[in-house]
Amino acid sequence: MESDMADDFYGRPPYARSTRSDRYARHDGRPGRADGSSPWHWLLWVPIVIPLMPVLYDRMEPRVLGIPFYYWSQLAFAGLASLVITVVHVATKDR
């Protein structure tokens, strides 16, 4: 364990290394706290899955400003993604 202290191969400063109890603790690579596991994160699947389903939007009507549905809907997904991410961010930021 002491050799671990000396072998600071990426120049990490001592105070950025582990605390003593941390160093002796075994870990399996999973996060210590529930990070990204808030149920709100499931919402993020919506703007990922919908744009990947062309059957939903591969049509001409209804048009907006003369632009077929196929084109304006895919741009509208950008607004959807923005909205969903904002909601998730606000809901999870005070963990």
Binding site: A16, G32, P47, I67, Y70, Q74, L75
Partner: protein, 568 residues
């Protein structure tokens, strides 16, 4: 051919904006300047202190590049619906990044990593694997820089300038101010870029909307054009056969975007997790600007634009020139020109950092000082940019496009090590390396099999190999016209090999846990004791000892930047 004499106004506006940007590029070195810019964190990451706005400009300047603005509307011009895939790609990428990048930011800030390859090296305890990821990153980034030159070249062609010396001059200027100011230069310049892009997009949208017939007429003409071609893969809508390649291309591009070193460089320069997450919430809206530019592909069909000398990249600049007043076309050209400078600078910095941290310091000079690291990175960034200029000038531009096609497949192979590595260290390092090898072999073999179609009817084989990235499923003997994006298949091969070899190699290799990261490193934020160092760098340093964490307290003299930084 367009002549320079007809485009004097455009040229002088372009030259004026270029001059302003150059001055800003050099002045950026003084922006929130530390006493010494000679550390890689200052030169290569802007001190890791960018707030909401700067991070937005940096990331948008990074993701939405000149080549995107020129090539993507061209795809729509040629294919219609199938060319629209960057729209879903640039929507789905942000929810994915929102989850993954916060973890990446945290672990990199705790450990002072500047590159994704450094993370891999620490996570899997293998400098060879880190170097492999670094080499893949550099390989994939170089042709991407060359693509930015293709964007500028298209503008020069439309203004009637020769491609050679103005292109070289532009890149010499870019190389010099990046050398001088590091990441601060593109961060500052991208503000100009975004202003120009948004102006151009608004002007274009208003002009098309106020045409006789508006967008309705534009789409009618485009539909008639696609109906008259012999190609079966064009049209205003996808047909069932095109959907698989559309979806896999969008998905694959999103994965690749996350893994490109330059995206991660922009991310690491953010001040804290909140800045990053707020930006990922706002960035999808920037996709709207790209969306309008993509629709210009149809506007170009409507206006009867014919590419100069068969170079399709000139379609968008030609449309600007034909539809805008001269001065406004000059601004649009400047938007493309500056839009090439920003990402090219960030990409060259990212590639240079990979070289410095994962090859130079790892294998050549392990005890290199910070100043030496910075010098090596500066020189490497120059080398990378001149390499890109040489590719464009000496080889032909098609070569850069082919390399970029391969580059996307190459960078995707780092997904298991970099992205999945953020969640688990289960994979064995040699299994990861073998997976990368297998994925690359599969990907390049598939790209080799894809011919390029073209000619007057669009179905003649122009070139036998490396003609595209959509691999026909009929190659498997399936009776279908559908095709699939090569990168996705290559990534699947990679993941499969990694998953199969890991249990075997873990059984053979009884070495202990090589992971240098700790679970809580992945959730640290600004203000966390382990990251305090960064706040001190920014705020000028504190001398208070933390009795709770004696090991975490700064040691005066060596690590506290006392006297190094001017108080604000």
């Amino acid at each position: 051919m367009p002549s320079f004499a007809d485009n004097q106004v455009q040229f002088w506006i372009f030259a004026f904006v270029f001059g302003v940007v150059t001055i800003m590029g050099f002045a950026a070195g003084r922006w929130r300047r530390p006493a010494s810019i000679h550390t890689l964190e200052e030169w290569g990451l802007g001190g890791r202190a960018f707030g909401n706005w700067v991070t937005f400009f940096l990331l948008s300047g990074d993701v939405y590049t000149a080549y995107t603005f020129v090539a993507v509307p061209t795809l729509v011009y040629g294919l219609g619906a199938a060319g629209f895939f960057p729209a879903p790609f640039l929507v789905i990428v942000y929810p994915m990044l929102f989850v993954v990048l916060s973890r990446f930011w945290s672990v990199c800030h705790v450990h002072g990593f500047v590159t994704p390859a450094e993370f891999v090296r620490a996570r899997f305890g293998s400098r060879g694997l880190g170097a492999l990821v670094a080499v893949l990153g550099i390989t994939a980034t170089m042709p991407y820089i060359a693509l930015q030159l293709i964007g500028i070249e298209a503008v020069f062609t439309v203004m009637g300038l020769p491609g050679g010396w103005p292109l070289t001059a532009a890149f010499v200027v870019l190389a010099l101010y990046t050398f001088n100011s590091g990441l601060r230069a593109p961060a500052l310049i991208s503000i100009v870029k975004d202003a120009l892009v948004i102006w151009t997009v608004l002007a274009a949208f208003i002009i098309v909307s106020s045409n006789a017939g508006g967008w309705d007429a534009v789409f009618r003409v485009a539909e008639a054009r696609f109906a008259s071609t012999a190609r079966t893969d064009d049209g205003l809508l996808l047909d069932g056969h095109d959907q698989l390649s559309y979806v896999t291309l969008a998905l694959g591009s999103a994965v690749a975007l996350f893994l490109y070193p330059h995206t991660l460089t922009g991310v690491l320069a953010a001040r804290n997790r909140g800045v990053l997450r707020r930006n990922l919430a706002a960035l999808p809206l920037y996709t709207l600007t790209l969306g309008v530019l993509m629709l210009l592909g149809f506007a170009a069909i409507f206006s009867g634009i014919q590419p100069v000398g068969g170079d399709r990249n000139t379609v968008v600049p030609l449309w600007f020139n034909a539809s805008f007043p001269e001065w406004c076309a000059g601004l649009a050209f400047a938007a493309i020109g500056v839009g090439a400078m920003v990402p090219a600078a960030i990409m060259s910095i990212a590639a240079a950092n990979l070289f410095t941290r994962n090859i130079y310091r790892e294998y050549l000079r392990p005890d290199a000082s910070e100043a030496e690291e910075t010098t090596v990175s500066k020189v490497a960034s120059l080398t990378v940019k001149f390499g890109a200029v040489l590719v464009i000038l000496l080889l032909n531009t098609q070569f850069a496009v082919d390399l970029q096609l391969i580059g996307g497949v190459v960078i995707m192979q780092t997904l298991p090590a970099v992205a999945i590595g953020l969640y688990t260290n289960w994979m064995h390092r040699w299994a990861l390396a073998a997976g990368i090898g297998a994925g690359l072999a599969a990907g390049i073999a598939m790209l080799y099999q894809i011919p390029q179609l073209g000619g007057p009817d669009g179905v003649t084989v122009v070139r036998e190999h490396f003609g595209g990235s959509a691999w026909p499923l009929s190659n498997l003997g399936l009776d279908t016209r559908s095709s699939i994006y090569v990168g996705i298949v290559a990534l699947a091969v990679n993941l499969l090999v990694t998953a199969l070899l890991t249990p075997i190699l873990r059984g053979l290799d009884r070495r202990g846990d090589a992971d240098r990261t700790r679970p809580r490193d992945y959730i640290a934020d600004e203000g966390d004791p382990t990251i305090r160092r960064m706040s001190e760098l920014v705020d000028g340093g504190t001398d208070t000892e933390d009795p709770e964490h004696p090991l975490l307290s700064p040691r005066p003299g060596r690590f506290t930047p006392a006297g190094t930084y001017r108080p604000r």
